[in-house]
């Protein structure tokens, strides 16, 4: 009887540790594992959507990017921190500065910690190649804050209290072949933190 209780308790602890570590991994990990690529604050994984993807990459994709296309069609970069590595939070303002990207179409979309779009009074969730207002050098500046100013804003949805974590996803559809071959050489937008409320 005593042994059965011990075995039962040991089993429950194992299940807790085993499943708990999976949950922690899926919530905290980015794509920088096997096949992972980091460009400034942005990370991606060449195996996304790939039949040969490693089990951990496949699990992250299922949790954070279900129905993601493979690299041949689209490359997805995520940023959960700014240029200095500080996590993105909704009560701070950020300036995202980019140059033209070698791709058929691109977009930058803001997501909450639950991986869904954040409600905001402006009803704006993203900026994209077809909507962005460019500067004289064909580059662009996107203001990310609770009340972004200028033509290229993305609201964080912050209203009061403590800010919450958010992330940005950069989608690159139909990358030019040379660029797709060497993702780490891409020049991706910088994310500079400004004032916080």
């Amino acid at each position: 009887m005593k042994l059965a209780l011990k075995l039962g308790a040991a089993f429950l602890v194992s299940v807790f540790l085993g499943l708990g570590s999976v949950y922690w991994f899926l919530e905290k990990s980015d794509f920088s594992g096997a096949g992972g690529i980091a460009v400034g604050p942005w990370t991606t994984n060449e195996q996304i959507g790939n039949v040969d993807a490693a089990p951990y990459t496949r699990a992250i994709v299922a949790r954070r990017g279900l129905l993601a296309l493979n690299k041949r069609e689209t490359v997805y970069f995520n940023a959960e921190a700014d240029n200095s590595g500080t996590p993105l939070v909704s009560n701070c303002a950020y300036t995202v500065t980019g140059v033209p990207l070698p791709t058929g179409w691109w977009s930058i979309t803001l997501y909450g910690a639950d991986h869904y779009l954040i409600d905001n009074p402006q009803g704006i969730f993203s900026q994209a190649k077809n909507t962005i207002v460019r500067n004289d050098q064909r580059g662009y500046v996107i203001q990310v804050s609770s009340t972004p100013e200028g033509p290229n804003g993305i609201p964080t949805g912050y209203s009061s209290g403590e800010g919450s974590r958010f992330s940005l996803t950069l989608r690159l559809y139909n990358l030019e072949e040379d660029a797709a071959e060497e993702l780490s050489a891409l020049v991706l937008p910088s994310i500079e933190r400004g004032m916080c409320q």
């Binding site: 299940v15 540790l17 299922a62 179409w105 869904y116 779009l117 954040i118």
Partner: protein
């Protein structure tokens, strides 16, 4: 002391095994949940045209608000299905297929198509296609999965026209 070490090692070993099994199972479980829920809500082997993603969208994580999605949950256990769609002009459009383990095993986009309309047969990998004629065949590694039609909203004033075009996509038993 020795007993405690043996118990701890056993617990940790079992935890590692459970961790590995769960990591392998997660894609199947999440995809299976999507297939099951979307299939029950919208039907199987038929196209469902989702509304434009906003803050209330909860069916799929990290949706793009710049695209409109049409989805077909497929089940090939009774035989192949046909996929057909008109191709909208001057915008991004793609048809992609995913197996029940999240693998994107097929994708084609508007740039790769020279006609204004596409038609495919989606079948299990054991399917014997007719030697002559018929639509191109896409072979699926699993009996169930999802086909997704993506259309970029190139500009707000084209939304209704693009929405009308994407709603002409079909998915039906052969």
């Amino acid at each position: 002391m020795r007993k405690t070490l043996v118990w701890s090692a056993a617990v940790l070993s079992l935890a590692v095994i459970i961790h590995i099994i769960a990591i392998f199972a997660v894609p199947n479980v999440i995809m299976g949940t999507l297939i099951s829920r979307a299939g029950e809500a919208n039907g199987v082997n038929t196209v469902f045209h989702g509304k434009r993603a906003d803050a209330t969208s909860r069916q799929i994580v990290r949706p793009s608000p710049d695209l409109i999605y049409s989805m077909c949950v497929f089940d090939l256990s009774e035989g192949p299905i046909t996929l057909a769609a008109p191709i909208p002009t001057d915008t991004y459009w793609s048809l992609s297929a995913f197996d029940d383990n999240t693998n994107n095993f097929f994708v084609v986009n508007a740039r790769q198509i020279t006609t204004d309309h596409v038609e495919f047969v989606l079948a299990r990998d054991s399917y014997q296609a007719p030697a002559v004629g018929g639509a191109p065949v896409i072979l699926s590694p699993t009996a169930t999965g999802v086909v997704l039609f993506r259309t970029l909203i190139q500009s707000e004033d084209r939304f209704e026209a693009l929405d009308d075009v994407r709603k002409k996509a079909t998915c039906a038993p052969l």
